[in-house]
């Protein structure tokens, strides 16, 4: 009796010890590290709900959701540190059209052919070139689309009506005329800007918002060979003069006017501004009763394509691709895009009634986009140019001086390579 009990107890004990080992062998865990921005906790919740559904359908795969809250620079530093120490996540997000650098450095795995072909055939018309450039390296796709952002013109419909404006501005001259009509002043001070301009803080952000003005004037950042910058040519100077004149001649905005940008728009302190689709989710919370629309911003906007990719050092590549393939199913990815208020990235999603009938997202679909060159120093160049644009906006330099000095520095960087 004692022997039987001992045997039973031993078997039970061994069963308890061994069972998780077998279970663990059956289930693999793959980590997804991604940049969730400074405050956007709701994105994490949306992804968690998708992961729950995936795990239910694929009991052998567990996804470890690892969102990174913080700035892009800190995210990149942490990700690169992990990847170069070969302790990286299995899957990770890459922002700002920088995926090609990861692919070039051998840190990302090419997308399996079947998935790559199906995605390439399904990229939305507006974003096709941007996505191919943003997700590829030497003709091969290295990531699946995750998010996209670019500037379009947000405008307050009630203010347009009040100013007697019945159609949308289609070029820079009309934009100036509209901005003048929409500006409100008290004792000579601007209290409502006709258009909120990115006139200070410098950096890449200021360049990103100025590209529309540059391209609308027929200017460009580089020559075709990418060997030199052409920002200080006639078109570039004209674009910056126009921009500075909006502040000091037309006085449609003031450098120190607060709140500005999306906050100013939500608080009816600005009639127009240029920003990406994320504003939609922001306004839902901040100004649910605001009557607004989105139209193409004159010139071309820079498309920012965020990607999800699989690390070449991942030990669970197959499971990782299974998850990404599942995520790219139109009915699944549409859930993500709808919840976070994204521009549809796949045509099969853009054709869905929700996106077809969404006036705001349709406004974005008409925006002409700039061809982003795959250049390792593009971000650095944008920061340098942005700092000089700020100097012109503060009248520390004339537009010609600012662009000449910026061109000199940018040329040095281009020659370094």
């Amino acid at each position: 009796m004692f022997k039987n009990n001992l045997l039973l107890f031993t078997l039970l004990f061994l069963g308890i010890i061994i069972s998780p080992v077998f279970a663990a062998e059956e289930q693999v865990t793959v980590e997804l590290m991604w940049e969730s921005g400074e405050t956007q906790g709701y994105e994490r919740d949306v992804l968690n709900s998708l992961i729950e559904d995936f795990e239910e359908e694929h009991p052998g795969i567990k996804i470890k959701n690892n969102p990174f809250v913080g700035s892009s620079e800190n995210y990149q530093a942490k990700l690169l540190t992990r990847l170069s120490a070969e302790a990286g996540p299995d899957m990770y997000s890459v922002g700002d059209n920088t995926l090609f650098r990861y692919a070039k450095a051998g840190m990302a795995e090419p997308v399996p052919e079947q998935l790559a072909n199906s995605l390439k055939n399904d990229f939305t018309e507006t974003l096709r070139d941007g996505m191919v450039s943003g997700l590829s390296w030497e003709g091969q796709l290295y990531g699946v689309p995750w998010n996209a952002d670019y500037v379009s013109l947000w405008y307050n419909k009630d203010m347009f009506k009040e100013a007697g404006l019945t159609k949308l501005p289609s070029n820079l001259e009309e934009l100036r005329e509209y901005a003048i009509k929409l500006t409100k002043r008290e004792n000579g001070r601007v209290v409502r800007s006709g258009i909120s301009l990115r006139s200070h803080t410098g950096g890449a952000g200021q360049t990103d918002k100025w590209i529309n003005f540059l391209t609308a004037m027929g200017g460009e950042l580089f020559n075709k060979e990418m060997t030199e910058t052409v920002i200080n040519n006639k078109a570039g100077v004209k674009a910056l003069e126009y921009f500075v004149d909006l502040i000091y001649e037309d006085k449609v905005d003031a450098v120190d006017l607060q709140p500005r940008d999306s906050d100013g728009f939500a608080q009816k302190k600005t009639a127009m501004f240029g920003r990406g689709p994320w504003v939609l989710a922001f306004l839902k919370d901040a100004a649910p009763d605001l009557n607004y629309g989105v139209a193409p911003f004159p010139g071309k906007s820079i498309p920012f394509i965020d990607a999800l990719c699989v690390s070449d050092k991942s030990k669970e590549k197959e499971a990782a691709w299974t998850f990404l393939e599942w995520l790219m199913k139109p009915e699944v990815f549409a859930r993500w895009q709808k919840e976070i208020g994204s521009i549809p990235l796949l045509q099969s999603i853009a054709d869905m009634p929700y996106f077809q009938n969404n006036e705001i997202l349709s406004g974005f679909a008409m925006q002409p986009l700039w061809d982003v060159p795959q250049h390792e120093k593009l971000y650095e160049i944008k920061i340098i140019l942005g700092d000089y644009l700020e100097k012109a906006c503060y009248k520390k330099l004339t537009p010609q001086e600012a662009l000449d000095q910026a061109a000199k520095e940018i040329s040095k960087i281009l020659q370094e390579d």
């Binding site: 620079e73 990149q76 540190t81 170069s84 450095a105 840190m107 450098v255 390792e376 700020e390 503060y394």
Partner: protein
């Protein structure tokens, strides 16, 4: 070879002492000395995380630094910030320490009140001040100034006002800590000195000049060194409130290091700037020690 005798009391004390300091020694080697040595090494390389092997470039980073307008601007801004931060921090906290030390009522209350900002996280402090410094009439400071007929100022967007505004924030935040150190120093001065000076007819200023200042010399030295270190390492207010702007007027040395390392991925070039900052701080600390000896 000479053998160490373990049985003598002195040697046993030595060995015990060594064992005791071993963990701290290992900690310093791994987390302080090695990274510092590695940093010096890195300053001779071109390195970013996308390239697996750093490229040795000799003194190129150092040569480039000498003509880098951004670096020189950062150096100038840091010196400007440090100078006024040191003058106001040390001056005001010393004055407050004397006031609190002399005060018979609510002595501890004042100590707590002044110390509170120091234990509040810097980011929170900076965000609150950012709100106070808002331009237009929305900002609380502008609102108060309007009672005196002063027009609203763009504190953080004006090229002349941005840096002084940040100095105000930092002086205010560290005031309590420095005040407490001064109070501790004042408490250590024997009261008999003041009583004797009083009998000899010394007035309040003479007592401060001939008793307080000389007795507080080591305390001044300590406060000056820590304030200088803090001032030269300043980063958070610039990062959170002004991003180095407007027009680079609040770009400091550490902000430039951050920019080179994290935004441009130029780790070697960032390392050179850290080396320069390290040498600068070390020289200043040695100079201060010499001057206050």
């Amino acid at each position: 070879m000479k053998k160490i005798k373990l049985n003598t009391l002195e040697n046993r004390h030595k060995i015990n002492g060594m064992i005791m300091i071993l963990p701290a020694f290992i900690y310093f080697i791994v987390f302080v000395y090695y990274p510092v040595a590695h940093l010096f090494k890195l300053s001779f390389f071109k390195y970013d995380f996308f390239k697996p092997h750093p490229e040795f470039i000799g003194l190129q980073n150092y040569i480039k630094l000498m003509t880098d307008a951004d670096f020189l601007n950062g150096l100038g801004n840091t010196a400007y910030f440090a100078l006024f931060m040191i003058i106001f921090s040390v001056g005001i906290s010393f004055f407050l320490a004397i006031m609190i030390d002399k005060s018979k009522v609510l002595n501890n209350f004042y100590k707590i009140v002044y110390f509170m900002p120091y234990i509040t996280p810097m980011v929170a402090v900076v965000l609150i001040w950012g709100w106070l410094f808002q331009p237009g009439e929305a900002g609380l400071i502008n609102y108060f100034l309007s009672f005196f007929g002063i027009a609203p100022q763009s504190w953080l967007y004006n090229t002349r006002l941005a840096m002084p505004s940040l100095i105000v924030i930092c002086v205010w935040q560290g005031l309590g800590y420095r005040t407490i150190i001064f109070i501790a120093g004042l408490k250590a001065i024997p009261q008999q000195y003041y009583e004797a000076a009083g009998i000899d007819g010394a007035n309040a200023w003479q007592k401060i000049k001939y008793i307080t200042f000389p007795c507080l010399k080591p305390v001044f030295q300590f406060v000056l060194i820590i304030t200088t270190m803090e001032a030269f390492k300043i980063f958070i207010p610039m990062y959170v409130l002004t991003q180095g702007g407007p027009v680079g007027t609040t770009k400091t040395m550490v902000y430039n290091i951050y920019k080179q390392a994290f935004q441009f991925q130029k780790w070697g070039y960032a390392a050179v700037q850290v080396v320069v900052l390290f040498i600068l701080l070390l020289s200043l600390a040695l100079l201060q020690r010499r001057l206050t000896k």
